[in-house]
């Protein structure tokens, strides 16, 4: 029982990332009818927002500390971040420590801007073109975006830690009444899951309870009719693209402490997220979220030693295998609607 709970927990963080990316993909596909192969790049850009902010915060100048000496006996040169000059030593250190969560504030405007520029500048011109063209041009864009990041940040992963308070693990099992040391779980993963849950809840609430969301949902169901009503749906879709970009970006920001970001992390996640979208059902938001968590957890179960002993290699292929089975037996995915992409 504890082993099962542990695997479910282990699947949650990856599942959360899949769900967030798939949610954005589905929003874009559902509203704009565009298959966005550059969505993984948005996730990656989000992650690098965190890296950038943590670099900005640790931007330092050198002072010579006369009171201390290095091992040669010279006065010690100390790097002092400007942040500590502005806010005092203790507060400055805390701000630097909290760089990753703070990046959320930084990433939201950046990602919305990136999303809106992308939609107005490129995607807009591809609404009427075939899906193959959309895939191709966004595929090209993804290459360009990741190369730009590679140019500025290099090809190696950049470790960026979580705040001190969330480093390390805790005994989750005790909370559920198991014996001690049965289920050890890192703090940050729980934070990530909670964060993902809040974002997903926020997006759904936004779509469900605001007039804006209502129009967008109507537009997803029947674009032409909404346009006939004289509602400027295009502008709303642009904003929706910005929101989807922000969701992917935030997923990236918070994922940084779990996995040090590199320039091709977006593509790695994108391939899987597409599979997630298809399994969930193209154009279905709840389907995307459900399939994201389901596949994340499934993957973690398949990585159990007992399962691998039984079926070698299953952890590597489980997601693809499930996707193929679903596509062949339930072509619309778990919760897909009729008539989406069935031309």
């Amino acid at each position: 029982m504890d082993a099962i709970i542990l695997q479910i927990l282990n699947g949650l963080d990856k599942g959360s990332a899949y769900a967030l990316i798939a949610l954005g993909l589905t929003l874009i596909f559902g509203t704009l009818g565009v298959v966005n192969f550059a969505h993984g790049a948005l996730f990656m850009i989000g992650a690098f927002c965190a890296v950038t902010l943590s670099r900005i915060l640790t931007f330092s100048h050198t002072i010579i500390d006369e009171s201390r000496t290095d091992f040669l006996g010279n006065p010690l040169k100390v790097q002092v971040p400007y942040v500590q000059d502005f806010f005092g030593e203790a507060a400055g250190a805390t701000i630097i420590d909290w760089a990753v969560p703070l990046s959320i504030l930084f990433a939201i405007p950046v990602m919305i801007l990136v999303g809106v520029v992308m939609e107005r500048g490129l995607i807009k011109h591809f609404y009427k073109r075939p899906h193959a063209d959309q895939i191709l041009v966004t595929f090209g864009l993804a290459i360009v975006l990741q190369e730009i990041i590679k140019y500025f940040f290099g090809a190696n992963p950049i470790p960026t830690p979580a705040p001190d308070a969330f480093r390390g693990s805790f005994d989750f099992g005790v909370l559920l009444g198991f014996e001690a040391n049965q289920i050890i779980y890192p703090y940050w993963r729980l934070v990530y899951f909670a964060f993902a849950a809040v974002i997903i809840g926020g997006v759904f609430a936004f779509l469900q309870f605001t007039t804006f969301g209502m129009v967008v949902r109507a537009g997803m169901a029947d674009r032409e009719t909404v346009q006939l009503l004289g509602i400027n749906i295009d502008k709303r879709f642009t904003i929706m693209f910005g929101v989807a970009a922000a969701v992917a970006g935030l997923a990236g920001v918070m994922y940084v402490p779990i996995n040090p970001p590199n320039y091709h992390m977006g593509m790695d996640f994108l391939v899987l997220s597409f599979v997630v979208v298809v399994v969930g059902g193209m154009g279905s938001l709840p389907g995307a979220v459900l399939a994201g968590f389901l596949l994340g957890i499934l993957e973690s179960f398949a990585s159990m030693k007992e399962v691998i002993d039984l079926v070698p290699g299953i952890n590597q292929i489980i997601i693809y295998l499930v996707a193929i089975l679903i596509l062949l037996t339930r072509p619309r995915g778990l919760m897909g609607r009729k008539g989406v992409m069935e031309d």
Partner: protein
């Protein structure tokens, strides 16, 4: 000639001439000169040109004619490579059986994957092929290590059985050949500062490529090719015209899988090892780039695209900051630095950026790729000429 129309015969002859004289054409700059680094006429790269040309020609038969966008074609390339290396290990170092097995195996494999994937169309088909290819990659990398060599890849070993070959005493690993002619053997021709290298491996690949190209022309002009274009154009009408689209698309899928397998087999014949990374989805993406860049649905386009990308990968990526500085040294210092700074991100390790931008530009502005660009230029030139004399327009060769 050979059952081709006049236009197609001309095209085939031009391609044949280009391929035969490639060691000269791709080596325009004398050795030792500053431009020598742009020479692409060395066997290793020329082999890659034609091998990826074959891969792209095959991909184009599927995507260009039927419009089904496969994102997992590298799987067949990998299967071809593995089969060829196994043939070298078990049977003989002769390349013919190896290539034959590569084509047969990848064909069977394509039949299996195509049969399943083609039950869906559009984006679903793309995702299915992607999923299959990624699955093959993951399996080749882990569980199938006894067959694929896992992370290190599949290599020849001294104690392989090679039942058809005579026992060898020398301590060296055997090399692939064609009835005794080693694939790696070369002959040099020195003319002044120029050194032209003729490699047996290249010419073998070139002949195979010309045959593949010829067969592709035949397919394009056949009733089968016409049906495939009809599938892309209007599957609805096709159904009500008494034709079953499924076997046609499956046949196209298998044929293009066999082309990929052929390319994989040739790759292994030039350098007898095979690794799982050949099946990774980026490799599948690369052949998509080649086909689109050159001109999807045209005959010569994929070959041009393959050549361009492989040239960029091998030549553009070698340019570094120092070389740039030496080029722009004639400019005043400040301007020189400025221009080098601007150009630098697009070359060397950043060549993928150039590739990505070019690819986007082609998709946005030139859906017909390089071939369309050529046609537009030709039309503009002809337009100027026909002001003088109104001549009957001929269709530009594809």
């Amino acid at each position: 000639m050979l059952g081709l129309g006049k236009k197609d015969t001309t095209l085939l002859l031009i391609v044949a001439a280009l391929v035969v004289f490639a060691p000269f054409i791709l080596n325009p700059f004398p050795g030792g000169s500053g431009m020598a680094q742009f020479n692409a006429g060395y066997p290793d790269l020329m082999q890659r040109f034609v091998i990826f040309g074959i891969f792209a020609i095959g991909f184009n038969i599927l995507f260009g004619l039927t419009g089904y966008l496969s994102f997992g074609h590298a799987a067949f390339l990998g299967v071809g490579s593995y089969s060829a290396v196994w043939m070298f290990k078990l049977l003989s170092m002769n390349v013919l059986p190896a290539i034959l097995l590569a084509v047969v195996f990848s064909g069977l494999f394509a039949l299996l994957i195509g049969y399943i994937s083609l039950r869906r169309s559009g984006i679903y088909f793309s995702i299915l092929t992607l999923a299959f290819a990624q699955m093959c990659y993951a399996l080749a990398y882990s569980v199938l290590t006894p067959i694929t060599g896992g992370e290190t890849g599949l290599q020849l070993a001294q104690d392989d059985p090679r039942i058809l070959d005579a026992a060898r005493d020398s301590g060296n690993l055997p090399v692939p050949g064609l009835f005794g002619l080693e694939m790696r053997s070369t002959a040099d021709l020195v003319l002044g500062d120029w050194v032209f290298t003729f490699s047996a491996g290249y010419y073998f690949c070139a002949v195979v490529m010309l045959i593949s190209f010829y067969m592709a022309i035949r397919i394009f002009r056949s009733p089968f090719g016409m049906m495939l274009r009809a599938i892309k154009s209007n599957q609805h009408r096709l159904n009500y015209t008494g034709l079953n689209a499924r076997p046609y698309t499956l046949a196209a899928f298998v044929i293009s899988g066999m082309y990929a397998g052929l390319a994989g087999g040739l790759m292994a014949s030039m350098d007898p090892l095979a690794g799982a990374e050949r099946m990774f989805w980026t490799a599948s993406g690369e052949v998509v780039l080649m086909t689109i860049l050159g001109g999807v649905g045209t005959l010569i386009g994929p070959v041009l695209g393959a050549g361009l990308i492989k040239y960029m990968e091998n030549i553009l990526s070698k340019i570094n900051g120092d070389i740039l500085h030496s080029w722009f040294a004639f400019l005043p210092d400040g301007l020189e630095d400025f221009i080098v700074t601007i150009v630098y991100p697009f070359i060397g390790k950043g060549w993928h950026l150039t590739l990505g931008l070019m690819f986007m530009a082609v998709v946005i502005f030139l859906p017909g790729g390089l071939v369309e660009a050529g046609q537009r230029i030709a039309r503009a030139v002809r337009g100027r000429r026909s002001d003088d004399r109104k001549s009957a327009t001929t269709e530009p060769a594809e």
